[in-house]
């Protein structure tokens, strides 16, 4: 890793921190996708908490404080926790969320008890262990980076190699089983991947907040892309960015690394959840508002057209009364129509301009087409899976179908009118 440290325009300790955080972000981001898409995010949380007693036991057993030994302990404890969760779920009637809760809290409690015990009995040697709670990127050594890098590369290479079986199992386990994939094994394997991610990140982020590094990048990336093969690299990238930014800020401010990384991650998630094109809350809110507005304006336009058809041009007030809409809404719609050049005013009274009348007829035609679809659609034998879009039937079904529908509607009108008359008489 020496060459990379030299390459970065940072001083030595910052470079080590940045590389460590980037490795953590890449691994946790990419592998966390397998927890989030299985809707098992909290399994990652439980695994991270379960790793803590492993670190303590490794320290008690070997007396060593070097990260690699302690992380072996973390990995083993994580594995035990994972198997326990699977075991509880399979052999008893405990639901997955409850199994997760049991494992998480009991392992973590054991970890805290052991930590306290170590603190009260051992020499100054123990001082480093509590960094495994909240994370401490500043303590990373160059040789820790080598271990992290090897783990990350191996895990990602395996994911790339087994991408199709993993994707198939994630998306549709029943299908995966039917084509002969070992679904159970693959699911356990995905949990193992999470253990690897936890081991890589534990020292930097800490047991309590590690789950954020697994979940945040996947959630943010999901807002931005629709394909698993892009989602995984994107999550890795977001993870790396969040990790590096958080770790460097934390090192400057001398606060634990975990919370800072998580706060940075939260900002990223918030931004993507709000702003992501197509999926973002604001984006969808704006579309909803636009659609509602359009429906209102079109409704008022048609009301106006029918009122004019039946009698003298109305005042806005009369129009509101006739259409049964609140006056404020009518006023808003009228001003929109006015701006579009569809209204002509004659004192208080309103007419439609030529373009206004054309627009009203277009709306009416679309509505007629939609009713024709509801009534006669089943007679059309659509050659493919086209689905009607109520706001624009012609575009969604094609001109042929739209014309055919009009023909059917006209042909059926005689019967329809007779039916109406019959009802009227009754």
């Amino acid at each position: 890793m020496g060459w990379l440290i030299d390459l970065l325009p940072l001083n030595y300790s910052d470079a080590v921190v940045a590389i460590g955080a980037a490795l953590l972000g890449i691994a946790a981001g990419a592998l966390g996708v397998f927890a989030v898409l299985r809707q098992r995010s909290l399994v990652g949380d439980a695994l991270a908490h379960a790793a803590l007693p492993g670190v303590c036991v490794a320290f008690l057993a070997t007396g060593a404080k070097d990260a690699t030994t302690l992380l072996v302990g973390a990995a083993l404890a994580g594995l035990v926790g994972a198997l326990l969760m699977v075991g509880i779920e399979r052999t008893s009637r405990v639901r997955p969320d409850a199994a997760i809760g049991v494992v998480l809290s009991s392992f973590f409690s054991l970890g805290i008890v052991l930590l306290t015990h170590i603190a009260s009995t051992n020499d100054a040697n123990q001082a480093g262990l509590d960094t495994y709670l909240f994370g401490q990127a500043a303590g990373l050594l160059e040789r820790d980076l080598d271990v992290m890098a090897v783990l990350a590369v191996v895990a990602l290479a395996v994911v790339a190699l087994a991408f199709r079986p993993l994707k198939t199992t994630l998306f549709d386990p029943a299908f995966a089983g039917a084509v002969g994939l070992p679904v159970r094994l693959l699911e356990i394997f995905m949990t193992m991947l999470l253990v690897v991610a936890v081991v890589i990140g534990l020292r930097t982020v800490g047991a309590i907040l590690m789950v954020a590094m697994l979940v945040v990048p996947a959630v943010a990336a999901r807002q931005l892309c629709n394909r698993l093969s892009l989602l995984i690299p994107l999550a890795a990238l977001i993870g790396a960015a969040v990790g590096v930014a958080g770790a460097l800020i934390a090192a400057r401010a001398e606060v634990p690394t975990g919370p800072v990384i998580v706060l940075v991650g939260f900002a990223v998630v918030l931004a993507t959840v709000l702003l992501a094109p197509g999926r973002g809350v604001l984006w969808r809110g704006r579309k909803l508002a636009r659609d509602r507005r359009r429906a209102l304006v079109e409704g008022v336009l048609v009301d106006l057209e029918t009122t004019i058809h039946a009698g003298p041009p109305p005042t806005p007030r009369e129009l509101a009364l006739a259409s049964g809409r609140p006056r404020r809404q009518v006023a808003r719609a009228l001003s929109a129509l006015d701006r579009a050049g569809m209204l002509a005013r004659d004192g208080e009274r309103i007419h439609l301009t030529e373009s206004g009348a054309a627009a009203a007829h277009a709306v009416l035609e679309r509505r007629d087409l939609w009713s024709a679809w509801l009534e006669h659609g089943w007679k059309l034998r659509l050659p493919d899976a086209r689905e009607p879009d109520p706001t624009d039937l012609r575009a969604s079904l094609g001109d042929d179908c739209a014309d055919e529908l009009r023909r059917l509607a006209l042909a059926g009108d005689g019967g329809g009118a007779a039916g109406d008359a019959g009802q009227g008489a009754r």
Partner: protein, 270 residues
């Protein structure tokens, strides 16, 4: 891969008589805990025919398919596909799970789902060859989803989702199709056009077994039926199976209405 690498559907025009049953289930028994869900079920679905598995909600129809494929452990029972144990004939079966079995917000496109049908035949670790890519496109066209290949699956309607699943099964090029409730939550127009597609596939020589809940269309559209309610109540040609008497035995009380007019028998459908 086994010797059936080519895996195409058998040639059309042969009767059922000279072929082993497409799917044979023997003494299938499954229980969840102490509760038996399937009990000594025997069934034999003829090759080259369109067969229905019918029965009330909770009758064990989905369980029967899953147990037959070995997706859930059975207490006892045996499954033969074209006379061979199912484990040795995985490439001869295409399974279409119930639609709600997957997360439709999953980040995957229509085309990728269909491509999934080629993974097992071409090998899980090999590139998808060009002729397979063409086959995937053909399958999409066949179900009328050609214009939707780049869509994320969450943007599809229920009927379109079902078509994607069928396209994936077609891409597997297996002679036996097992489908779980393909018509639930699908409008009548889509149901009719999917039924038509299934009939066309049958006429090409494929064997199709469909879990179905609409007795009204079973009579018109299917050749063979298994009436299931924990036990196999009746099995055989549709006209013999869907009778007032057998329906009463499968559906119990309230089945009188069912028997009177199978076409209106929707009251029990889920």
């Amino acid at each position: 891969m086994s010797a059936h690498q080519d895996g195409g559907p058998p040639t059309a025009g042969r009767g059922a008589g000279d072929r082993a049953p497409a799917l044979e289930i023997r003494r299938m028994t499954v229980s969840y805990g102490a509760r038996p869900v399937l009990w000594d079920v025997d069934a034999s679905f003829p090759a080259g025919r369109l067969s229905a598995i019918v029965g009330p909600n909770g009758a064990g129809k989905s369980t029967l398919l899953k147990a037959a494929l070995g997706l859930i452990p059975a207490d006892a029972g045996q499954t033969l596909v074209e006379g061979r144990p199912v484990g040795a004939a995985r490439d001869r079966v295409a399974y279409v799970p119930q639609r709600d079995a997957v997360d439709w917000d999953f980040p995957i496109t229509v085309r990728e789902v269909v491509e999934m049908g080629r993974y097992a035949p071409t090998g899980w670790f090999r590139r998808v060859p060009r002729r397979d890519a063409a086959l995937v496109d053909d399958c999409l066209e066949r179900v009328g989803m050609g214009d939707f290949r780049g869509r994320q699956i969450g943007q599809l309607s229920g009927g379109q989702r079902q078509r994607v699943f069928i396209a994936r099964a077609l891409a597997q090029q297996a002679p036996l199709l097992l489908m779980d409730e393909p018509f639930s939550g699908v409008d009548a127009r889509t149901e009719a056009s999917i039924l038509e597609l299934l009939a066309a596939l049958r006429d090409e020589g494929r064997s199709i077994v469909v879990v179905h809940h609409d007795l009204g269309t079973v009579r018109g559209a299917f050749d063979h039926a298994l009436l299931l309610n924990v036990r196999a109540v009746a099995e055989g040609p549709v006209a013999e199976v869907v009778t007032r008497e057998t329906l009463a035995r499968a559906y119990g009380a309230g089945a009188d209405a069912v028997g009177r007019d199978a076409g209106e028998a929707l009251s029990w459908a889920g």
